[in-house]
Amino acid sequence: MSVDKDTSRLEDALKIALRRQQPPDEFADRVLARAITKESGKPASRLPWLRIFTRPIFAQPVVRWATAAALVAALVGGGIYHRHVQRQRAEGEAAKQQLILALRIAGSKLQLAKSKVQHVQDQTENQEEKE
Protein backbone atom coordinates (compact mmCIF):
# COMPACT_ATOMS: atom_id res chain seq x y z
CA MET A 1 0.00 0.00 0.00
CA SER A 2 2.69 2.48 1.04
CA VAL A 3 4.84 1.37 -1.94
CA ASP A 4 2.09 2.44 -4.35
CA LYS A 5 1.87 5.76 -2.60
CA ASP A 6 5.63 6.35 -2.89
CA THR A 7 5.57 5.42 -6.58
CA SER A 8 2.84 7.88 -7.39
CA ARG A 9 4.73 10.62 -5.52
CA LEU A 10 7.86 9.93 -7.55
CA GLU A 11 5.87 9.97 -10.75
CA ASP A 12 4.36 13.29 -9.80
CA ALA A 13 7.78 14.75 -9.05
CA LEU A 14 9.14 13.53 -12.38
CA LYS A 15 6.16 14.94 -14.22
CA ILE A 16 6.74 18.31 -12.62
CA ALA A 17 10.47 18.22 -13.36
CA LEU A 18 10.09 17.13 -16.97
CA ARG A 19 7.14 19.20 -17.91
CA ARG A 20 7.42 21.26 -21.08
CA GLN A 21 8.48 24.82 -20.44
CA GLN A 22 8.75 27.80 -22.77
CA PRO A 23 12.33 29.29 -22.87
CA PRO A 24 12.78 32.90 -21.82
CA ASP A 25 12.32 35.50 -24.57
CA GLU A 26 16.04 36.46 -24.90
CA PHE A 27 17.29 32.83 -24.88
CA ALA A 28 17.59 32.50 -28.69
CA ASP A 29 19.45 35.85 -28.92
CA ARG A 30 21.92 34.80 -26.23
CA VAL A 31 22.68 31.50 -28.00
CA LEU A 32 23.23 33.29 -31.32
CA ALA A 33 25.48 35.93 -29.75
CA ARG A 34 27.62 33.30 -28.07
CA ALA A 35 27.97 31.37 -31.34
CA ILE A 36 29.14 34.54 -33.19
CA THR A 37 31.68 35.36 -30.44
CA LYS A 38 33.14 31.85 -30.65
CA GLU A 39 33.56 32.03 -34.44
CA SER A 40 35.21 35.45 -34.44
CA GLY A 41 37.61 34.35 -31.66
CA LYS A 42 39.13 31.47 -33.69
CA PRO A 43 42.12 33.28 -35.35
CA ALA A 44 43.13 34.79 -32.02
CA SER A 45 43.38 31.32 -30.57
CA ARG A 46 45.78 30.31 -33.42
CA LEU A 47 48.22 33.13 -32.62
CA PRO A 48 47.81 33.75 -28.92
CA TRP A 49 50.85 36.07 -28.72
CA LEU A 50 48.99 38.56 -30.93
CA ARG A 51 46.46 38.94 -28.15
CA ILE A 52 48.95 41.20 -26.37
CA PHE A 53 48.09 43.87 -28.96
CA THR A 54 44.46 43.67 -28.09
CA ARG A 55 45.15 44.16 -24.42
CA PRO A 56 44.38 47.59 -23.06
CA ILE A 57 48.05 48.66 -22.69
CA PHE A 58 48.70 48.22 -26.44
CA ALA A 59 45.50 49.95 -27.27
CA GLN A 60 47.24 53.21 -26.34
CA PRO A 61 48.86 54.88 -29.41
CA VAL A 62 52.00 55.91 -27.48
CA VAL A 63 52.73 52.34 -26.53
CA ARG A 64 52.08 51.13 -30.07
CA TRP A 65 54.44 53.75 -31.52
CA ALA A 66 57.08 52.97 -28.91
CA THR A 67 56.85 49.28 -29.77
CA ALA A 68 57.15 50.00 -33.49
CA ALA A 69 60.12 52.30 -32.85
CA ALA A 70 61.81 49.64 -30.74
CA LEU A 71 61.31 47.07 -33.51
CA VAL A 72 62.73 49.46 -36.13
CA ALA A 73 65.70 50.26 -33.85
CA ALA A 74 66.33 46.55 -33.36
CA LEU A 75 66.25 45.98 -37.13
CA VAL A 76 68.59 48.91 -37.84
CA GLY A 77 70.92 47.83 -35.02
CA GLY A 78 70.96 44.30 -36.36
CA GLY A 79 71.78 45.59 -39.84
CA ILE A 80 74.64 47.74 -38.55
CA TYR A 81 76.03 44.83 -36.53
CA HIS A 82 75.79 42.54 -39.56
CA ARG A 83 77.73 45.06 -41.69
CA HIS A 84 80.33 45.42 -38.94
CA VAL A 85 80.80 41.65 -38.81
CA GLN A 86 81.07 41.50 -42.62
CA ARG A 87 83.67 44.30 -42.64
CA GLN A 88 85.67 42.57 -39.91
CA ARG A 89 85.57 39.34 -41.87
CA ALA A 90 86.83 41.11 -45.00
CA GLU A 91 89.64 42.75 -43.03
CA GLY A 92 90.50 39.41 -41.46
CA GLU A 93 90.66 37.72 -44.87
CA ALA A 94 92.96 40.50 -46.09
CA ALA A 95 95.19 40.02 -43.03
CA LYS A 96 95.24 36.27 -43.70
CA GLN A 97 96.33 36.88 -47.29
CA GLN A 98 99.11 39.17 -46.00
CA LEU A 99 100.24 36.48 -43.59
CA ILE A 100 100.28 33.85 -46.34
CA LEU A 101 102.20 36.24 -48.60
CA ALA A 102 104.76 36.87 -45.85
CA LEU A 103 105.20 33.12 -45.32
CA ARG A 104 105.53 32.59 -49.08
CA ILE A 105 108.25 35.22 -49.37
CA ALA A 106 110.08 33.87 -46.29
CA GLY A 107 109.81 30.38 -47.76
CA SER A 108 111.08 31.32 -51.19
CA LYS A 109 114.10 33.11 -49.70
CA LEU A 110 114.84 30.13 -47.46
CA GLN A 111 114.63 28.00 -50.59
CA LEU A 112 117.15 30.30 -52.24
CA ALA A 113 119.51 30.04 -49.25
CA LYS A 114 119.11 26.28 -49.18
CA SER A 115 119.82 25.89 -52.90
CA LYS A 116 122.93 28.08 -52.58
CA VAL A 117 124.24 26.03 -49.66
CA GLN A 118 123.43 22.81 -51.51
CA HIS A 119 125.27 24.11 -54.57
CA VAL A 120 128.37 24.90 -52.47
CA GLN A 121 128.23 21.46 -50.81
CA ASP A 122 127.94 19.72 -54.19
CA GLN A 123 130.92 21.68 -55.51
CA THR A 124 133.01 20.84 -52.42
CA GLU A 125 132.12 17.14 -52.73
CA ASN A 126 133.04 17.15 -56.44
CA GLN A 127 136.39 18.80 -55.69
CA GLU A 128 137.09 16.23 -52.97
CA GLU A 129 136.24 13.38 -55.34
CA LYS A 130 138.61 14.79 -57.98
CA GLU A 131 141.42 15.08 -55.44
Binding site: G92, Q98, L99, A102, L103, R104, I105, A106, V117
Partner: protein, 187 residues
Protein backbone atom coordinates in the same frame (compact mmCIF):
# COMPACT_ATOMS: atom_id res chain seq x y z
CA UNK B 1 121.94 60.35 -6.36
CA UNK B 2 120.97 56.70 -6.13
CA UNK B 3 117.35 57.60 -6.83
CA UNK B 4 118.46 59.60 -9.85
CA UNK B 5 120.39 56.68 -11.33
CA UNK B 6 117.34 54.41 -10.83
CA UNK B 7 115.21 57.01 -12.59
CA UNK B 8 117.67 57.20 -15.51
CA UNK B 9 117.73 53.41 -15.72
CA UNK B 10 113.91 53.24 -15.71
CA UNK B 11 113.70 55.89 -18.43
CA UNK B 12 116.34 54.17 -20.51
CA UNK B 13 114.81 50.71 -20.13
CA UNK B 14 112.24 50.98 -22.94
CA UNK B 15 114.93 52.31 -25.28
CA UNK B 16 117.25 49.46 -24.34
CA UNK B 17 114.48 46.94 -24.91
CA UNK B 18 113.67 48.48 -28.26
CA UNK B 19 117.35 48.43 -29.21
CA UNK B 20 117.16 44.64 -29.19
CA UNK B 21 114.48 44.69 -31.86
CA UNK B 22 115.45 44.47 -35.48
CA UNK B 23 114.45 47.69 -37.16
CA UNK B 24 114.32 48.35 -40.84
CA UNK B 25 116.59 51.34 -41.53
CA UNK B 26 114.82 54.37 -43.07
CA UNK B 27 117.20 54.25 -46.06
CA UNK B 28 115.95 50.77 -46.88
CA UNK B 29 112.30 51.79 -46.45
CA UNK B 30 112.93 54.58 -48.98
CA UNK B 31 113.80 51.98 -51.62
CA UNK B 32 110.08 51.48 -52.23
CA UNK B 33 110.16 54.75 -54.20
CA UNK B 34 112.57 53.19 -56.71
CA UNK B 35 110.96 49.75 -56.73
CA UNK B 36 108.83 48.35 -59.52
CA UNK B 37 107.01 46.15 -57.02
CA UNK B 38 106.94 46.50 -53.27
CA UNK B 39 105.66 44.10 -50.64
CA UNK B 40 105.48 45.37 -47.10
CA UNK B 41 104.02 43.15 -44.43
CA UNK B 42 104.03 44.29 -40.81
CA UNK B 43 102.23 41.97 -38.47
CA UNK B 44 102.76 42.12 -34.74
CA UNK B 45 101.48 39.64 -32.15
CA UNK B 46 97.81 40.70 -31.89
CA UNK B 47 97.55 41.13 -35.66
CA UNK B 48 99.03 37.67 -36.18
CA UNK B 49 96.56 36.14 -33.73
CA UNK B 50 93.71 37.90 -35.47
CA UNK B 51 94.84 36.92 -38.97
CA UNK B 52 95.40 33.34 -37.89
CA UNK B 53 91.76 33.14 -36.77
CA UNK B 54 90.85 33.30 -40.44
CA UNK B 55 93.13 30.42 -41.39
CA UNK B 56 90.96 27.44 -42.11
CA UNK B 57 91.32 24.46 -39.79
CA UNK B 58 90.00 22.25 -42.60
CA UNK B 59 92.89 23.18 -44.87
CA UNK B 60 95.96 21.21 -43.69
CA UNK B 61 98.39 23.86 -44.98
CA UNK B 62 96.56 26.69 -43.28
CA UNK B 63 96.15 24.64 -40.10
CA UNK B 64 99.94 24.13 -39.92
CA UNK B 65 100.52 27.81 -40.58
CA UNK B 66 98.10 28.72 -37.78
CA UNK B 67 99.97 26.43 -35.39
CA UNK B 68 103.27 28.03 -36.32
CA UNK B 69 101.97 31.56 -36.05
CA UNK B 70 100.36 30.91 -32.66
CA UNK B 71 103.74 31.23 -30.91
CA UNK B 72 105.13 34.09 -32.94
CA UNK B 73 105.38 37.71 -31.84
CA UNK B 74 105.70 39.26 -35.25
CA UNK B 75 106.38 38.85 -38.94
CA UNK B 76 107.94 41.73 -40.85
CA UNK B 77 108.67 41.53 -44.56
CA UNK B 78 110.03 44.11 -46.97
CA UNK B 79 110.53 43.01 -50.55
CA UNK B 80 111.50 45.36 -53.37
CA UNK B 81 111.74 44.38 -57.01
CA UNK B 82 113.53 46.80 -59.33
CA UNK B 83 113.59 47.32 -63.08
CA UNK B 84 117.35 47.64 -63.19
CA UNK B 85 120.35 46.41 -61.26
CA UNK B 86 122.14 48.62 -58.78
CA UNK B 87 119.02 50.16 -57.26
CA UNK B 88 120.42 49.67 -53.77
CA UNK B 89 123.89 50.11 -52.36
CA UNK B 90 126.14 47.79 -50.40
CA UNK B 91 125.92 50.25 -47.51
CA UNK B 92 122.15 49.82 -47.37
CA UNK B 93 122.55 46.05 -47.17
CA UNK B 94 125.21 46.45 -44.51
CA UNK B 95 122.86 48.67 -42.49
CA UNK B 96 120.37 45.78 -42.56
CA UNK B 97 123.00 43.23 -41.55
CA UNK B 98 124.21 45.44 -38.71
CA UNK B 99 120.74 45.08 -37.14
CA UNK B 100 121.40 41.42 -36.41
CA UNK B 101 124.86 41.69 -34.91
CA UNK B 102 123.62 41.90 -31.36
CA UNK B 103 123.90 39.26 -28.66
CA UNK B 104 121.94 36.10 -29.30
CA UNK B 105 122.12 36.41 -33.07
CA UNK B 106 123.97 33.80 -35.09
CA UNK B 107 124.48 33.84 -38.83
CA UNK B 108 123.73 30.32 -39.99
CA UNK B 109 123.94 30.96 -43.72
CA UNK B 110 125.94 33.60 -45.55
CA UNK B 111 126.16 33.30 -49.30
CA UNK B 112 128.07 35.73 -51.54
CA UNK B 113 127.80 34.69 -55.17
CA UNK B 114 129.87 36.53 -57.77
CA UNK B 115 128.47 34.20 -60.40
CA UNK B 116 124.84 35.36 -60.30
CA UNK B 117 125.11 38.20 -57.79
CA UNK B 118 122.81 36.58 -55.22
CA UNK B 119 123.72 37.32 -51.63
CA UNK B 120 121.72 35.59 -48.94
CA UNK B 121 122.10 35.74 -45.18
CA UNK B 122 120.08 33.77 -42.66
CA UNK B 123 120.37 34.69 -38.99
CA UNK B 124 118.91 32.81 -36.04
CA UNK B 125 118.26 34.38 -32.68
CA UNK B 126 118.80 31.91 -29.87
CA UNK B 127 117.46 32.33 -26.34
CA UNK B 128 118.16 29.57 -23.81
CA UNK B 129 119.25 27.34 -26.68
CA UNK B 130 115.90 27.77 -28.37
CA UNK B 131 115.23 29.69 -31.54
CA UNK B 132 113.59 33.01 -30.77
CA UNK B 133 113.63 34.52 -34.22
CA UNK B 134 114.91 34.40 -37.75
CA UNK B 135 116.08 37.10 -40.13
CA UNK B 136 116.62 36.55 -43.84
CA UNK B 137 118.33 39.15 -46.01
CA UNK B 138 118.31 38.26 -49.69
CA UNK B 139 120.02 40.73 -51.95
CA UNK B 140 119.65 39.78 -55.58
CA UNK B 141 120.63 41.96 -58.55
CA UNK B 142 117.11 43.25 -59.10
CA UNK B 143 115.50 42.33 -55.84
CA UNK B 144 116.03 43.02 -52.17
CA UNK B 145 114.14 41.09 -49.51
CA UNK B 146 114.24 41.42 -45.76
CA UNK B 147 112.28 38.97 -43.59
CA UNK B 148 112.13 39.14 -39.81
CA UNK B 149 110.16 36.50 -37.92
CA UNK B 150 110.07 37.21 -34.19
CA UNK B 151 109.12 34.69 -31.56
CA UNK B 152 109.81 31.24 -30.23
CA UNK B 153 110.30 29.15 -33.30
CA UNK B 154 111.39 25.54 -32.97
CA UNK B 155 113.53 24.18 -35.80
CA UNK B 156 111.00 21.41 -36.40
CA UNK B 157 108.25 24.04 -36.63
CA UNK B 158 110.35 25.79 -39.22
CA UNK B 159 110.74 22.50 -41.06
CA UNK B 160 106.96 22.08 -40.83
CA UNK B 161 106.74 25.11 -43.05
CA UNK B 162 108.22 22.96 -45.79
CA UNK B 163 105.98 22.76 -48.78
CA UNK B 164 103.35 25.08 -47.30
CA UNK B 165 102.75 28.03 -49.60
CA UNK B 166 106.02 27.19 -51.38
CA UNK B 167 108.09 27.25 -48.19
CA UNK B 168 110.89 24.69 -48.49
CA UNK B 169 111.56 21.84 -46.11
CA UNK B 170 114.79 22.78 -44.38
CA UNK B 171 117.33 20.02 -44.45
CA UNK B 172 119.24 20.48 -41.22
CA UNK B 173 122.30 18.88 -42.83
CA UNK B 174 122.46 21.74 -45.28
CA UNK B 175 121.81 24.44 -42.70
CA UNK B 176 124.88 24.78 -40.52
CA UNK B 177 124.04 25.66 -36.94
CA UNK B 178 126.61 28.29 -36.07
CA UNK B 179 129.13 29.55 -38.59
CA UNK B 180 128.68 30.78 -42.13
CA UNK B 181 129.76 27.90 -44.31
CA UNK B 182 129.05 28.98 -47.84
CA UNK B 183 132.21 28.98 -49.87
CA UNK B 184 133.31 27.91 -53.38
CA UNK B 185 132.35 30.50 -55.94
CA UNK B 186 131.04 32.76 -53.21
CA UNK B 187 133.25 35.37 -51.78
Amino acid sequence: MKKLSWLILLLALPALTRAQDVKIPPDVEKLSAKAKETVEVTMDGPMLRWASKFLSADDPDEAKAAKLVANLKGIYVRSYEFDEEGAYTAAEIESLRSQVHGPGWTRVVGVRSEHDGDNVDVFFKLENEKMAGIVIIAAEPKELTFVNIVGPLEVDQLADLGGEFGVPKLDQKTLPRSQPKAQGDHK
